[in-house]
Symmetry: C2
Subunit: 396 residues, 2 copies
């Protein structure tokens, strides 16, 4: 029997077709996926091709040797599928199923209608997505922001601002929970009460880097944590390039705010371009290590952005009308900034997102030391500026 | 008699055709130019059109009223030319002729074969160029570098480096002698023992800003000072946009290293593009005022450059073979940098052209306070780093 003409298994397809956001994959369906994924030497692309051909993972497992061969499997692969996993693999699948249930982890497959639409259309979507928090329809309007782990203070501030403004405009900010730019991207969206998604390079039950545990919890409350890796998978560096295709795959475009030359962020950006995603880069001083990568992207044709509005202007024309209406106009900066005293405003104008030492603020404003110190304190209390070690200040 | 068929005045044409670099315009030819230029309500374009039609300014002055009208003059203009300047104008022309001779100023007209080739081809070349120092054939391989007067320390350092490297490769660096980027551009070329040209917005016998008197003398020794303004003309701000067309007109392209939004440098860059010149911009941090202009140029399509090699790579394909062979390969940075001790190298690597406070150098290198201080002192003595107020250091 040919898989394409085979009657769809109604038991499992009713699960698969469920479009409710509270949808949960049954243990039986997940078990079938895990059994297929456990086959040695068979990649995600093959698993997905088989399951798509047979309409469900159970149908693949139920097919006869001849049917499998007829549907394109090699005799060896057909034998392996028919034989099923060995005892040790069965035990590990059992453990994973138990962990998924116990930890209330949602799993969606690339066959599900609730699987992210854009990600489903890339060349090699992850067959399974493990999710904590909540992935909603809103998240189709997503923008990735990635970059250097060793970002500069100015770069982190710039990332926060961009992310804050995009999230405030109704976009979900997607990133990788890493140190530096990634963390700033998540934090900016959270600060705007917006949505944000972190895609992990390890199992969904782990947090890497460990110090981002609290950030992760906040993201779960205002967005989602995703992973394609099996439960318990450690954060191996070779997971990260694969992880990055999910970050860009979920998103309309990828913004790189700071990145060193030859860095992972540049690879993500280039892969994103291959996926047909817009690539945006924030320019930076050419001698700053973490701007060399973004400047290189700009040379290669990435769109130069200075603010959230630039991103929205670029994205808008290619947006489906249903998504377009969801975009909110950006808050005007001065509306958000409220009223400052004359001297406070003077001090604030001199400050930027790059740290400045107090001496420079005094010289540039021409104000007295005591006036500058008082204004800085007042601005700090109003969370308009932040202080760094060494009497340095920058806009918050 | 039609001007195009009129026999060329041999006396003056022998001057005009002279191609020796020691060429000097005779007092009589210059006087004729000055008389034409002094006519009220007649602009440079009209003067040049008339002189080109009649092949010399003397021939225009000698033409009859009917001949002038036949060659396209209005009756009013023909009358004014025939009448000649009033007594007061005659006196001021006399004064200018005396000053040119006394101060050994060279004057070239747009009719001269020694007039800069590229400048001659713009829509409105200056009819007369006043020159001190020496303008040579080498200067056909010229690149303009312009930008903010209030440049940052990092921006000035970057400008110096670019200019140094381009001048070292055999290009003449053209700029406007202004504070900030312009001065750094001239200084970089001088440091490389290269050629540089400053185009003034005031009379050639003045120096603006006055504190650049010494820089001007250095430029005269290794290049030239140019002006189209009459002797003694003050540095009025309305001269500067006109002056800027000469800077770009002389050059293969215009580099903007730092510029505020809505600044003169941006106008220069846009005019340069209209003249068919390449426009290059150095990217910068988006919150730095003096990078907003360059980032805006990049958005408009200027070529992003990070180093001299980028400029040369862009210019090379469009260069006449005779100029191409004059370009020298760029010195490799590490050859120029020589050998540093291990800790010196570590400290140097952490430093950039943006000032860094000592605390950050200590934290980032992980070296002891005394080692960092000793390395900085050694690097300073070797003129590899510079110290700024507030214990801040940057690469020299």
């Amino acid at each position: 029997m040919q898989p394409s003409s085979q009657p769809v298994d109604t038991d499992s397809s009713s699960e698969v077709a469920g479009s409710s956001s509270s949808y949960r994959m049954t243990r039986a369906v997940l078990e079938s996926w895990l059994r297929l994924r456990a086959i040695d030497g068979v990649g995600d692309v093959t698993v997905l091709r088989l399951v798509r051909a047979w309409h469900s993972p159970e149908a693949v497992l139920r097919a006869s040797r001849d049917e499998l061969i007829e549907s394109g499997c090699s005799p060896q692969l057909a034998d392996t599928i028919r034989r099923g996993p060995d005892r040790s693999t069965c035990r590990s699948i059992e453990r994973e199923l138990t962990a998924v249930e116990r930890k209330h982890i949602e799993v969606r497959s690339a066959l599900d209608s609730t699987y992210p639409m854009r990600l489903k259309m890339i060349a090699d979507p992850p067959p399974l997505l493990y999710i904590t928090g909540a992935l909603t329809e809103q998240d189709e309007l997503a923008m990735a922001i990635v970059g250097a782990r060793r970002a500069t203070a100015a770069g982190r501030a710039m990332t926060e601002e961009l992310s804050h403004d995009l999230a405030g405009a109704g976009m979900t900010v997607v990133s990788g929970l890493a140190r530096g730019v990634d963390a700033a991207a998540h934090q900016g969206a959270l600060a705007a009460q917006g949505r944000t998604i972190a895609v992990l390079g390890c199992g969904i039950d782990r947090t890497y880097p460990p110090e981002h545990e609290r950030l992760r919890r906040q993201i779960e409350e205002q967005g989602a944590i995703l992973s394609e890796a099996p439960m318990g998978a450690p954060p191996h560096s070779h997971h990260f390039p694969r992880r990055n295709r999910i970050i860009s795959g979920l998103s309309l475009g990828v913004i790189v705010t700071e990145a060193a030359i030859n860095s992972g962020s540049l690879i993500t950006a280039r892969l994103a371009a291959e996926q047909g995603r817009e690539v945006f880069a924030v320019p930076g001083f050419v001698k700053t290590e973490t701007s060399r990568g973004t400047n290189a992207l700009l040379k290669e044709g990435a769109a130069l952005i200075e603010r959230a509005q630039d991103v929205i202007d670029a994205i808008l024309p290619q947006l489906e009308p249903s998504l377009r209406v969801r975009l909110q106009p950006l808050q005007k900066k001065n509306e958000r900034e409220g009223q400052l005293g004359k001297e406070e405003q003077l001090v604030y104008d001199v400050l930027s997102y790059a740290p400045l030492i107090v001496d420079d603020v005094i010289v540039t404003t021409g104000l007295s030391v005591s006036t500058v110190m008082a204004s800085l304190l007042s601005l700090e209390l109003r969370q308009r500026v932040r202080q760094l070690p060494g009497q340095r200040y920058l806009r918050a």
